[in-house]
Symmetry: C2
Subunit: 256 residues, 2 copies
């Protein structure tokens, strides 16, 4: 089992060498810009670590891991647009729409989603692309609830916006490793807790969402409980899940 | 063989009863709005007619036909945005971004692309979704060349923007009918001419593109030649292609 930082390095190299569709032409520049290192790569590392822990070959999971990261990046590019969250900065650099213009950013997001599906479709098993596209639709539904203020059920909005794609990262890792559906349940229970942990910590850092609703102390307790349950879920899986535990610990104490 | 109008009616009914992902929530309203009748449904009718002519069951091609139409609709919703072509009207009604706001239109376009892929992935054969996603990436690349003014090679821009998806409509029909790759060539040669015919007539109606470059007379001649070659290609296919010939005739004389 490789530690999480090694997985991150392998993933970064894979992503850098990824061939995009030739017909995209010079739009490729905007996709590469949005995909540049700087992010935490939590979803792809999770996908690779799960695949390896579940008995698969990490290399076989690289296209799936990249597919999940591309969906995440597509969502950032579109969510940053002025008509949505209107964020001019992303990871300390100008957002895609500031760097390339809004029109190109719309198209770059579209192309990232297309490339993500193309990667997911490089596998013989269509279940991999199916899981990714369903998670993507859930994520889009969550973002819609968020911008239209239909966020009475905050936990549901967060489950859609963040949880669906983290769950898919785990699910794709399991599918690449050939874990049958009936044996996926404990892993996915882990994904649920990890998603909650991720989101609550996010809200604590941004001082919104759960932090606003529960107060800082309440949100901190919720994060600790989620991290603890995530570790318990991992302990229930009959596999060497050391790297995944490492990821939980990383997420629990992250500051950015 | 059903005439094209019957295929259009069957398709309209199928599209109206299509179940979208529940997690989209109220975003579904914007997708339905963008998909409402009014368009010519050229791509789905082409897909259904090819599937039937090639010996497949028309019913089996309905999800593929809808997938192609959803990709087309996704591209209209995004292209109409102020940052792209800035069109406030579409088929005599307010564009999606006028009716729902720009943010919702971005998300609705994203969701249409996701739903399209979900439909394409309802088949066991992943080649169907692969062909659709590759055509979509080509189409996005064409739109990017168009908005950035990189349209020195007009024929190539049009092949990407329009031809790629028409070719996929034919290709998906063939795949649903189980036509092996090595026997698809004459059908795809037909798709090429149909794509050219479609685009030249479009430019004649809009007084741009080929009409601007070649003059009205020159563009008319090009359209007639493309229609003639499309009919010849059909004649070379060992199948009853009457409905497809009907489509060529329709496209050649269309006025909207």
């Amino acid at each position: 089992m490789r530690p999480a930082d090694d997985l991150r390095d392998v993933f970064e190299a894979y992503l850098g060498s990824l061939e995009l569709a030739a017909e995209l032409g010079s739009l490729e520049t905007a996709l590469r810009y949005a995909l540049e290192p700087g992010g935490k790569r939590i979803r792809p590392v999770l996908c690779l670590a799960v695949a390896e822990a579940a008995g698969g070959r990490m290399e076989d999971a690289l296209p799936a891991a990249a597919a999940v990261e591309l969906v995440h990046t597509f969502s950032l590019v579109h969510d940053d647009l002025p008509a949505l969250d209107d964020d001019d900065e992303r990871r300390g650099r100008p957002s895609a729409h500031v760097a390339f213009g809004e029109g190109v950013a719309v198209l770059a997001g579209d192309a990232l989603l297309g490339e993500a599906l193309r990667l997911a479709l490089s596998y013989d098993d269509p279940a991999i692309a199916r899981e990714l596209v369903e998670a993507t639709l859930g994520m889009i539904g969550g973002q819609h609830r968020d911008i239209t203020g239909d966020d009475r059920d905050l936990a549901e909005v967060e489950r859609l916006k963040t949880g669906r794609l983290l769950d898919a990262a785990v699910g794709l890792g399991l599918r690449v490793a050939g874990v049958p559906e009936r044996e996926q349940r404990p892993w996915r229970a882990f994904a649920d807790e990890l998603g909650l942990l991720f989101q609550v910590v996010d809200d604590l850092l941004d001082e919104d969402g759960f932090a606003e609703r529960l107060g800082v102390e309440g949100a901190r307790r919720l994060a600790e409980d989620a991290a603890e349950r995530a570790r318990e879920r991992l302990a229930a899986v009959a596999a060497d899940t050391g790297v995944l535990r490492e990821l939980v610990d990383e997420l629990a104490v992250r500051t950015a």
